[in-house]
Symmetry: D3
Subunit: 322 residues, 6 copies
Amino acid sequence: MASDFRLKEKLPTLVSSIVGTYTADDRINHLGHCPLPKYDSVVAIVEDLTDILYPGFRRREGLHIGNVTYHVGNLIDSLHDSLTTQIGRALHHDDRVHNRSSDCENQLDYEAKGQAIAIRFLEQIPRLRRLLATDVEAAYDGDPAVSSRDEIIFCYPGLEAITIYRIAHELRRLGVPFIPRMMTEWGHKQTGIDLHPGAQVGEYFFIDHGTGVVIGETCEIGSNVKIYQGVTLGAISFPTDPDGQLIRGQKRHPTIEDRVVIYANATILGGRTVVGHDSVVGSSVWITSAVAPHTTVTLEKPNLRVRGGVPDDLKPETNYQI
Amino acid sequence: MASDFRLKEKLPTLVSSIVGTYTADDRINHLGHCPLPKYDSVVAIVEDLTDILYPGFRRREGLHIGNVTYHVGNLIDSLHDSLTTQIGRALHHDDRVHNRSSDCENQLDYEAKGQAIAIRFLEQIPRLRRLLATDVEAAYDGDPAVSSRDEIIFCYPGLEAITIYRIAHELRRLGVPFIPRMMTEWGHKQTGIDLHPGAQVGEYFFIDHGTGVVIGETCEIGSNVKIYQGVTLGAISFPTDPDGQLIRGQKRHPTIEDRVVIYANATILGGRTVVGHDSVVGSSVWITSAVAPHTTVTLEKPNLRVRGGVPDDLKPETNYQI
Amino acid sequence: MASDFRLKEKLPTLVSSIVGTYTADDRINHLGHCPLPKYDSVVAIVEDLTDILYPGFRRREGLHIGNVTYHVGNLIDSLHDSLTTQIGRALHHDDRVHNRSSDCENQLDYEAKGQAIAIRFLEQIPRLRRLLATDVEAAYDGDPAVSSRDEIIFCYPGLEAITIYRIAHELRRLGVPFIPRMMTEWGHKQTGIDLHPGAQVGEYFFIDHGTGVVIGETCEIGSNVKIYQGVTLGAISFPTDPDGQLIRGQKRHPTIEDRVVIYANATILGGRTVVGHDSVVGSSVWITSAVAPHTTVTLEKPNLRVRGGVPDDLKPETNYQI
Amino acid sequence: MASDFRLKEKLPTLVSSIVGTYTADDRINHLGHCPLPKYDSVVAIVEDLTDILYPGFRRREGLHIGNVTYHVGNLIDSLHDSLTTQIGRALHHDDRVHNRSSDCENQLDYEAKGQAIAIRFLEQIPRLRRLLATDVEAAYDGDPAVSSRDEIIFCYPGLEAITIYRIAHELRRLGVPFIPRMMTEWGHKQTGIDLHPGAQVGEYFFIDHGTGVVIGETCEIGSNVKIYQGVTLGAISFPTDPDGQLIRGQKRHPTIEDRVVIYANATILGGRTVVGHDSVVGSSVWITSAVAPHTTVTLEKPNLRVRGGVPDDLKPETNYQI
Amino acid sequence: MASDFRLKEKLPTLVSSIVGTYTADDRINHLGHCPLPKYDSVVAIVEDLTDILYPGFRRREGLHIGNVTYHVGNLIDSLHDSLTTQIGRALHHDDRVHNRSSDCENQLDYEAKGQAIAIRFLEQIPRLRRLLATDVEAAYDGDPAVSSRDEIIFCYPGLEAITIYRIAHELRRLGVPFIPRMMTEWGHKQTGIDLHPGAQVGEYFFIDHGTGVVIGETCEIGSNVKIYQGVTLGAISFPTDPDGQLIRGQKRHPTIEDRVVIYANATILGGRTVVGHDSVVGSSVWITSAVAPHTTVTLEKPNLRVRGGVPDDLKPETNYQI
Amino acid sequence: MASDFRLKEKLPTLVSSIVGTYTADDRINHLGHCPLPKYDSVVAIVEDLTDILYPGFRRREGLHIGNVTYHVGNLIDSLHDSLTTQIGRALHHDDRVHNRSSDCENQLDYEAKGQAIAIRFLEQIPRLRRLLATDVEAAYDGDPAVSSRDEIIFCYPGLEAITIYRIAHELRRLGVPFIPRMMTEWGHKQTGIDLHPGAQVGEYFFIDHGTGVVIGETCEIGSNVKIYQGVTLGAISFPTDPDGQLIRGQKRHPTIEDRVVIYANATILGGRTVVGHDSVVGSSVWITSAVAPHTTVTLEKPNLRVRGGVPDDLKPETNYQI
């Protein structure tokens, strides 16, 4: 190391100037004694649940009917504990954020509430498995390139995003704040699919490829719906009250009815926009108003400039780039 | 922990109800004694191969001509073993899925087949390096912002996706099921680029930025092709036989000839769609029919609504969102 | 293992044929004694800095005013060392690439330069925190679905990408080659947002959802700008000199003035394209020329083919796919 | 690094000269394709068994009647596999060493034998627990300084050595070669107590402190025996046949009957030496012949040189040392 | 794996038979909801404290006056937490063992007590450092083979054992049950030196080599004492009351006054045995009664059988062994 | 956590009082910028060397003639680097301790010296292997209970200690300070055998059981010597000069000639004590003067007090203990 030691011994000044910015006014530190939900624990919960939902696929080899109970039992046991702790923290944090709680009292009461929710959640696993089995079937039926259901469970990002969404949606339904969004944002990072835990999604849901898909908080999606990469189901705007405050709780994302297919990069916006059942939305279409059932919406033959030669400024040998 | 211990001792009931759903009819568990390819091992294979293809870049520092043989020798030795095992499993799994094998017999025969393929694959590494060197050159020539080839190898997602694709494509060509797709889906997760192992891609291939690119199974791509982020080379539909079964093996994704450039978010669909050599497809263009060689296709000057003011419902101070 | 041992003992031939391709002409190996910046160390630097910028959120629980100095002090101490080493390597590498240095001399001089820059960089942390606090506020004000600033810091990919960008941009400003791009490509991998370290971005910047966003090297972005997923701020082309060499240093990406909102999948191209302040660019719009201040640009009511029924080749029960 | 790179590139010569010593005559390498038992796996087996024998003490917290089955079930499941593999390897290795097997054939047959023994061994766990419970009682009754049985299980090296011995002895009884000795030598390393797996030890056995205790292969030890640190139960010599070959299978270590106490550093040698029941052997005593029951053997008042002053060469301020 | 799957599916029976032995009568399980001190945490506490006592030696390189506060501050912060938890558990466990507490109530009260003791203990660190500095000096003065104090701190087992003892003794003095013994037994495992936390040891204490040293609970050792390997400072016996119960609290191990040297393998027994100051006890001497100050005690010239030749049964070529 | 947060925020006072003791006078800290050899690296060097000396035994499975060069080559390559660094540090440290160097200058010169020694050391590996092969033979011939040489290499503590000693002795012979002692003390910790790196030991050396063996710095041991557990080859005293300074370099430990056997717990002291060749020293014998060749020395029939009954104070049912 050729660095100058005397310079290094001045680091304390640097540290003081940084720590001096961690003031009470500073809104981007979390100092104090009230724990937030822990990101790594939330991710671990998702991974453990995935191992229970699809036993034998990823982490643990050699599961069979003679040992699967032990494996699942161990996971449920530790999930009970980690869900209890993390949900307790999230409930507490939510009350503090909304000034329903003074700082850091009654952590134990929150853990007790956390445990009650954790158990109700774990009781939903058989139901979640039935639901996810329909999603696997939808992918199997919808993608002829796939050779077995195992391949879908193993490596389809669409199923990964849906699995995380269904876990997160269930927790949100049970009143857990904060954690469902942490889960779906982790799923977003893994798959490029941003599927909000507040959305309502029917059975037999299939997302193919998926990168860039955004599905907003108040979307309602029927059963047997297929969505391709780059599709946005978004909001246009939403109203504020006379004080300029957002009026919450309003539906601002579209409704997609049963058996709709939405091809790549289509954009459907607005809380009053309903795409009727058995419709097809073509690739790159942009929609902000209702589509009747049994309708096909595609781009018109596009108005392209087609020239019999490449203009100078678009020649491939020129160094184009972004 | 403030949780109620009595509640916790009821967990066995919960476990039983979950394990009870792991029945023979349940298609989303993998219980039994026939191992699947292991995801983590497949990822490790890709990483080890990358270390051999581009020695000295990522994992291992201080490689020089006096020690590189030892490093590569060790990697090849362990790759031989892991490829043998994982390919054996994939072959066996594929036969079971297609009912060509009774359950769990002859695992050793499959390993012998796996070894033969593993060795044939490893013999292709020099050829793969020559091919990938052309891809690095294409990026170097195509992106003036890059200061050295090292930067491309180090951190360009396009090259990462192409590297994984070329590995996976070679394995698929040698008859390995299941694993090539696991590899490219892992690449998809890393880069946002979904490049199917079945596609055929010529030399000097360059993908810039790359997020959202989808390249389908039966694409044929010439040499010296450049593709930007968000480009889809997809299918429209494909025929079923009178029984409603998919007619497999048909080409359903486009052909891109030599020296074509496709700008961001363009969509090219259909198995009979050929983009002729030396053509340019502009940003956001949507194409479903053939483009002659030496053609430029761009969006017409878009029909936009341009107003001299922001309407109330689109004002930035309003809380727009999706 | 059923593999044939005799086959395995032939691996040395294979290894030799691979190592034989690592020649001086071969541009995709890095053999020799001059270290490159280490990818894992660069990622660790980003993670340590994030822990200092937003103390108490992710890695370390239980920080309070009584112990935060120790935590930050330890991080600054090790960041000083790792930044010194990695910047020294990057400076040295850059000189070799541009033939300003013979091979592998004076590594110690480079480390001394690295240390000087490292300290100047660490001195910027308080300023970076003030800037990032505005980005958090922008997200808080811009997304009514968020319940607290903590949620933004914890799991918003937009803020993650901006944080990495601001770190990388600062290093680039201080003359560090290579590393800033490694950082933002890592951020790209994490978030799907490709935000070049050379871009200039004002305060209160908000990217929502973010997957597929590409912001080029010479973009200039004002303050209070909002960008949604899939937006490209790219180049059209740029000039070469009479020898066909790129003319570097020219602005080739657009300028976005203060308080502009750009909705999902919009594409804005060209170095002379300025989007005036207080403008709104609608979803999926494609722009290559200037937009006056206070302007709204949206897609015209799209020309769609809407049919009262789904044609045979688009029926959902048909197996459409890409 | 100031080392000379040219020197470093000469390392291959060094490597060749070393590898050149790994010849067939060289008896201290293990090259080839027949695996030995793996040391780390054998240690892991001991640790997993310890977790089953004394559940709730060391590795896993929070075991209760509602989850202990899952924990033990998982351990038994993986122990079945690892014992099967390691015992199979040990059986195979033993046959090769004694020329009862050609090289590397029939590994699968050995695994089948390994499995049969593994299951018979696991069936002994309830019996082992009853036996070890007597050893814990012996320590509790024999050491008044202990405050609870938990303390003994947690940190008494004597119990640790006895536990490992009882596991290893059981495997040896079932015909497993090689592994029992690996286990007790690991115990030796942990505790300083060298207790051969061939020894026969009754119930209620207690070793206090233990460092330096050596108990030979053909020792027979009754029940309720106590042994202190530094005690050797060893051989004097043993006969060879006319060819100078050892006559194996003869008893060459002493017999210690029930309720004997042997104090620190006593040495008892010889296969015909019997210490009768209810006897006491004092500290540092050296015995090579039989001791009748109910006998006390202590050192005579030692013949010491006691001088009223410290001679010059033994003064503490002189620097004595070994 | 050649094992028989049908055998494996019978493992549940095995598991049940084992779990069936974990009854309430079974004294060698710890099931329930009251945690014991955790072995790994106790070891980690010792290691963290060692890092504070001798900063810069083992774990953390590059400490200097500019960063040592951060390093120590972090360690103290986490030691506060881990000591609080582990001491709380030990206090609770002790009360349960002695029936002063019903099961599992008031864990929080115990943690509060644990915190108070933890802080009192941490306040003793400067005093412990002064004391240990004398032990280092004693080793430096007592062993001429040593070339620097650093060598002693780095690798002398005697100092390691004394350091652990002084930590453990301090905790015991503050009323912590259970943990001090866990610590010294861990030290015993590391060094072969069994130094009871209850012993009282003066400053400038030196143990050389150390393997096999045993120092009992009620020993009193003055200052400037040197002890060599294999020395036992033990008990002979101790009285029981008329009911056969041990009379606790009596001194049953010897007193060693200032400036005494005890050479290798000497044995000194009994609570009334005092070795007077400035005395020397020779190698292998066995003592059960008082030694006056300034006395030298050595073995008499031993009565050996010396024969001019090796008898047949002791010839080295015969296979002697234990 | 029930601990009082206010107490915790007082920790900085505690930290300051501790850091305040790290003064220049304080001899038990190592603050500053001159690195010591790193303990973990030294241990890793021993482990890597062991893997080269006995290839195929412990860490790496599946070595065969086709891959062993890669494995050894990698290890030699990294050993070159770590030995260079650690030897350089040790040389530098030694010069500072003996005031032959000002603080922290010329680290690079020391590394260059370190590299030269590292290479000379690595060149000795073939010779070390020949020597160690004789030690394995000695154990095989000397212990009839062993079933194969593999067992000795795998788990005999005597061979482990000798291996570490022979490595350390070679480094010491090449002039490396500090590190050899770190190595043998690590071996001491592993095996209970304290074998000083300065001792000179001939070929075919065998230590059985080994716990408590101490062999001093100036011992000379011939070939074909066998030593059992608890044997001390130590010093009596050694002279000081008129100033009370130790006269260094004098021989103060015994000489053991060829083919001597020393049984358990024997003690042989003094630099002029020579045990002549082909002699046998019996168990527990204590010797401070020369023994002629071909001599047997055993304890006389011990003078024991043997009583026909156990006195009250030695009855086993009484709670004897140390």
